[in-house]
């Protein structure tokens, strides 16, 4: 060999197709940067899936989300129900033998999905979070009655839970008027500032 070795490197694209679909190798790094977690640490033991309380309702198992993110299977991950169904109960991270914070990974993947405008397969869940945060941004605190009402308008499920809601009001548990705390304007500014930083790609934002 010796002198016969070429100085130039090979020129193939290195493209990987899984199930016929092109993968996005940079996706893993994006998730790792946002979540601060090392996806390659996962050896796919499935302990997260085994203990996940909502796995029965998920389309991708938690361990599959990690694996697919690692493999750059962007569409499967971003379009999955699982990333929205994760309730952040932290069972997986507590027991993970590799100390991977999977709820952080789920959070990050959700953020990427939102940013890229991917259609959410669990619109009610997304509407809940959006409405929740809108309410907090507007009022500094959450006004639960307003949350329920706004959510019903968004999701069109007008009559679900109405008896429970009425009972709540009757029991004095759903205040009709929101509270107006002093820090209201400050909270609004925090939302705006975080939104600005996320737009600029601040490492901590997003």
């Amino acid at each position: 060999m010796g002198d016969a070795i070429s100085a130039e490197s090979a020129t193939t694209s290195g493209e990987v197709r899984i199930g016929g679909t092109k993968t996005e190798p940079g996706f893993c790094r994006e998730v790792e940067r946002l979540s601060g977690q090392k996806l390659s640490a996962c050896y796919q033991c499935g302990e997260c899936t085994a203990g996940c309380p909502v796995a029965f309702a998920m389309d991708l198992m938690p361990n599959q989300v990690t694996r697919m993110a690692l493999a750059g299977m962007v569409d499967e991950v971003l379009q999955s129900r699982s990333i929205w169904l994760c309730v952040g109960c932290n069972t997986c991270v507590t027991r993970c033998p590799r100390l991977v914070d999977l709820p952080r990974v789920m959070d990050s993947v959700r953020q990427i999905a939102t940013r890229r405008g991917v259609r959410c397969p669990e619109p009610a869940i997304r509407a809940f979070h959006d409405t929740f945060l809108q309410g907090v941004e507007r009022g500094g605190r959450l006004h639960e009655l307003a949350l329920v009402a706004a959510l019903k308008l968004k999701t069109g499920r007008l009559f679900q839970d109405v008896p429970a809601g009425m009972a709540m009001v009757a029991k004095g548990k759903l205040a009709i008027l929101p509270e107006t705390p002093e820090g209201k304007a400050e909270v609004r500014r925090i939302f705006e500032e975080c939104r600005r930083r996320a737009g600029e790609g601040d490492d901590h934002a997003g």
């Binding site: 959510l151 004095g172 925090i190």
Partner: protein, 303 residues
């Protein structure tokens, strides 16, 4: 153990609404035990389970503002009754202490001095550990003799243990059990102390919550509990308000009362308003006040 110590008090949004009885009972019990709670002036929503899914910096800053307010009050610890709020404030506090660059970013957004010295404490932990079972035993007027209690901690009081800096055994926490024992009740041995109830999916994927809540309720019944005691408004909503539909979907007819631990304490300590708060629940909890057995209640439910 410290005597008559003052804590900042962060009620969180739910305790001003759906979990009003938690707020009222927490204040009453603490007052009776000589624990001074000073509500954080101008507190804001901690971001709960929504903010961290949108933006890590936002969720940390929302929590951090409250911690900064606690620092401004000149207090070291903030007692948080809601498990979800406690989790957010405690995790954010831990991250601010561990990650200097995150702390800088938060300070820049917050535009408030933030040392990171304020520590979030679960109200349960304050009561069980700081006040201590000895003083609670002394404060009991009507012991919970014969009452079998399923102590339900849920997810967010104990997990993730590394960030919460708690000394609870994460898979089998004990503080609530100790508390019940101090009041003369009998905590049942059961495996679902920290199983998840479905939390914020309550309004959106009610089907998931029904199934998870039914699992928890059935296990409490199977293990012989007369009632369930919790420390979280979300858990209460899912186990109490959703109990009827959850058990119906599971083909079960029994009912089991669910109480905030502070309500149970108020009953045991003979605080006069205690029975009135229980009326705010969906599942009739008056039997617990009357110390009736589980068997009597289930026949009642069937009638």
């Amino acid at each position: 153990m410290q005597d008559n110590r003052a804590y900042a008090y962060y009620p969180g949004c739910s305790l001003h609404a759906t979990a009003k009885e938690y707020d009222l009972s927490a204040r009453a019990v603490c007052a009776a035990l000589g624990v001074e709670l000073r509500e954080v002036p101008g507190w804001n929503c901690c971001g709960a389970s929504s903010a961290h899914g949108r933006d890590h910096l936002l969720s940390t800053t929302l929590a951090a503002r409250n911690l900064a307010l606690v620092e401004e009050m000149g207090l070291e610890e903030v007692a948080v009754p809601c498990a979800a709020c406690f989790n957010r404030l405690a995790v954010a506090g831990h991250e601010l202490r561990e990650d200097a660059s995150l702390a800088d970013a938060v300070r820049n957004v917050l535009e408030r001095p933030l040392q990171g010295s304020a520590k979030a404490r679960a109200l349960l932990d304050v009561v069980a550990r700081d006040v201590g079972t000895e003083r609670i035993r002394d404060a009991v007027r009507r012991p919970l003799e014969g009452l079998k209690v399923a102590c339900y901690y849920g997810c967010l009081l104990v997990r993730p243990p590394r960030a919460l800096e708690t000394d609870e055994r994460v898979e089998d926490p004990q503080s609530l059990d100790e508390l019940v024992r101090a009041m003369g009740g009998e905590p049942v041995e059961w495996p679902h102390k920290t199983e998840c109830c479905g939390a914020a999916l309550s309004l959106t994927r009610t089907d998931v919550v029904r199934r998870l809540s039914a699992d928890i309720l059935k296990m409490a019944r199977d293990c012989g509990a007369d009632c369930i005691v919790c420390a979280c408004p979300l858990c209460m909503t899912n186990l109490d308000m959703r109990q009827g539909e959850a058990l119906k979907a599971a083909g079960e007819r029994f009912r089991i009362p669910v109480l905030y631990f502070t309500e149970l304490m108020a009953l045991a300590m003979g605080i006069p308003d205690a029975e009135r708060w229980l009326k705010m629940h969906f599942v009739d909890a008056s039997a617990v006040a009357r110390r009736e057995s589980a068997a009597a209640q289930s026949t009642e439910a069937q009638q």
